[in-house]
């Protein structure tokens, strides 16, 4: 069952963030939620994951499902080693399954050599890599990503995005990827949902058909869709 939000309402005091908000996300693809800063993207993720309550409405397709989350900042426990940080969240699986998954994702992300290191002995990029490895090792059917590459330099951002896509291709899950950068959405997404306005609503939805490997800044779809996406930010 795909993830769908129907007639969602959420206010903070007098400020209404969502009023009869509707959106539908396709299963097992990368759904990018694109919107200007402060439009309610993180609130939407928090509501879907259950971290925040909502006033009214319906969320369909999350029942009984676990969530993996890649936050803007890695949110690691400084007093645990790289491996222990992964073990800490692996409750739903048995010990042997957990160990197997942890080993696998540490190996794929190249963190296996650093499994006994503590987070503050790692660079910023490696910390975020660990956060991605943790999210994939955890058996979350739905993966929520809240601007996970914000603030990283261009090279590292590309490295981590490529790594994320590689991991996701091997283990496809429904991804909700929040960003405010049209370029990032164009390079990563299968579907792009633009949200905005006051109260927030879905303004536009499009599907990116070009294979990820063929997406370049001068490809036709990139240019055409890019123009549409940017128009929402310049209005």
């Amino acid at each position: 069952m795909s993830l769908e939000i129907r007639k969602l309402g959420k206010s903070y005091g007098k400020q209404t963030v969502f009023e009869n908000f509707n959106i539908k996300f396709e299963d097992n693809v990368v759904n990018c939620i694109l919107g200007a800063s402060g439009c309610g993207k993180t609130t939407l993720l928090n509501i879907i994951s259950g971290l925040e309550d909502y006033d009214y409405g319906e969320i369909i397709g999350t029942e009984g499902k676990n969530f993996s989350y890649i936050f803007q900042e890695p949110r690691l426990l400084d007093w645990y080693t790289v491996r222990e940080n992964m073990e800490f969240v692996m409750g739903p699986l048995g010990i042997s399954d957990s160990n197997e998954r942890i080993d696998r994702y540490l190996r794929i992300t190249g963190l296996d050599r650093f499994s006994l290191y503590f987070p503050d002995q790692l660079s910023g990029g490696m910390k975020q890599r660990l956060s991605i490895a943790r999210a994939f090792a955890y058996p979350g059917k739905i993966m929520l990503m809240d601007e996970p590459f914000k603030g990283l330099d261009v090279k590292l951002k590309k490295e981590l995005t490529d790594e994320f896509i590689t991991l996701w291709k091997e283990d496809r899950r429904t991804v909700l990827f929040v960003t405010h950068e049209p370029r990032e959405a164009l390079m990563t997404a299968d579907n792009i949902h633009i949200i905005g306005g006051e109260p927030c609503r879905e303004l536009y939805k499009t599907e990116i058909k070009t294979e990820r490997n063929d997406r370049t800044e001068d490809s036709d779809e990139f240019v055409m869709t890019g123009e549409i996406l940017y128009s929402f930010f310049t209005e």
Partner: protein, 253 residues
């Protein structure tokens, strides 16, 4: 020069200053020098009757008061950090314990408890508010983003308490333990001086005062300083984290 030799040089320099001041005052009854103090320390204090019992009794009282304050202070501090109502309930007790002069407590304790118990109670009363306050601060300053992360990954509540709250609290409890250890020695010995139980360093200090033996006061003070230093080192080992023991370089991208 290594760190060890630097420390030794500083200690030797202060012994020299002590020696010169004593030489200048030139009155053993008022201000004994280090040589006389060390002579009395080894010939009368350490070799004297009941030294082990005296030191043992004081140490036991310090450990009982300190451990009691640690256990009750930390557990109530955690509860106060989690439940605002409990924090409000505890506030008057902690404020009174912090503001009341130690002498008032000692005198009251001498009315209510046996003389050998008074120093334990005083040590507890002085250390408890510090453990309580620091533990509460530790809980309140726990990174809520880490707790949200754990909630999202459905980490069980008990594991969140031990893996996030207690770990975040550790530096605060560590700081409290360091402050309290020094304080515990001071107030326990002060309470022993006033309550004068059969065995205790404070009782021996009181005897030295009665018999006008300042050199013995110096010698016993020396014993207190050495014991305090040793306990501080033990505490440092206990609280040393795995992270401090690990000594790896920072890894790049």
């Amino acid at each position: 020069m290594s760190k060890y030799w630097k420390k030794t040089a500083v200690v030797v320099a202060w012994f020299l200053i002590w020696y010169l001041v004593a030489l200048l005052i030139n009155n053993q009854l008022k201000f004994p020098g280090p040589i006389e103090t060390l002579r009395v320390l080894f010939s009368q204090v350490i070799a004297g009757e009941g030294f082990v019992l005296t030191v043992g009794a004081s140490l036991l009282r310090i450990l009982l008061g300190f451990t009691g304050a640690f256990m009750i202070g930390v557990s109530t501090g955690i509860a106060a950090g989690i439940y605002k109502g409990f924090s409000d309930f505890m506030e008057p007790v902690v404020s009174v314990a912090r503001a009341t002069p130690v002498m008032s407590f000692i005198i009251l304790a001498m009315i209510w408890f046996s003389f050998s118990t008074v120093p334990v109670v005083i040590c507890f009363l002085m250390c408890f508010p510090i453990f309580y306050q620091n533990s509460k601060e530790g809980i309140l300053n726990t990174d809520s983003n880490l707790v949200k992360m754990a909630d999202l990954y459905k980490v069980p509540g008990g594991k969140i308490i031990t893996g996030i709250y207690l770990r975040s609290m550790k530096p605060y409890v560590n700081a409290a333990a360091n402050i309290c250890l020094g304080l515990a020695f001071k107030v326990t010995v002060a309470a022993e001086v006033l309550a004068s139980p059969d065995y205790g360093i404070g009782s021996r200090l009181y005897d030295a005062k009665i018999y006008l033996e300042p050199v013995e006061v110096f010698a016993w003070t020396f014993v207190i300083l050495v014991l305090s230093y040793l306990l501080e080192q033990i505490l440092r080992i206990i609280f040393k984290s795995r992270k401090q023991r690990s000594n790896k370089d920072v890894a790049g991208n």
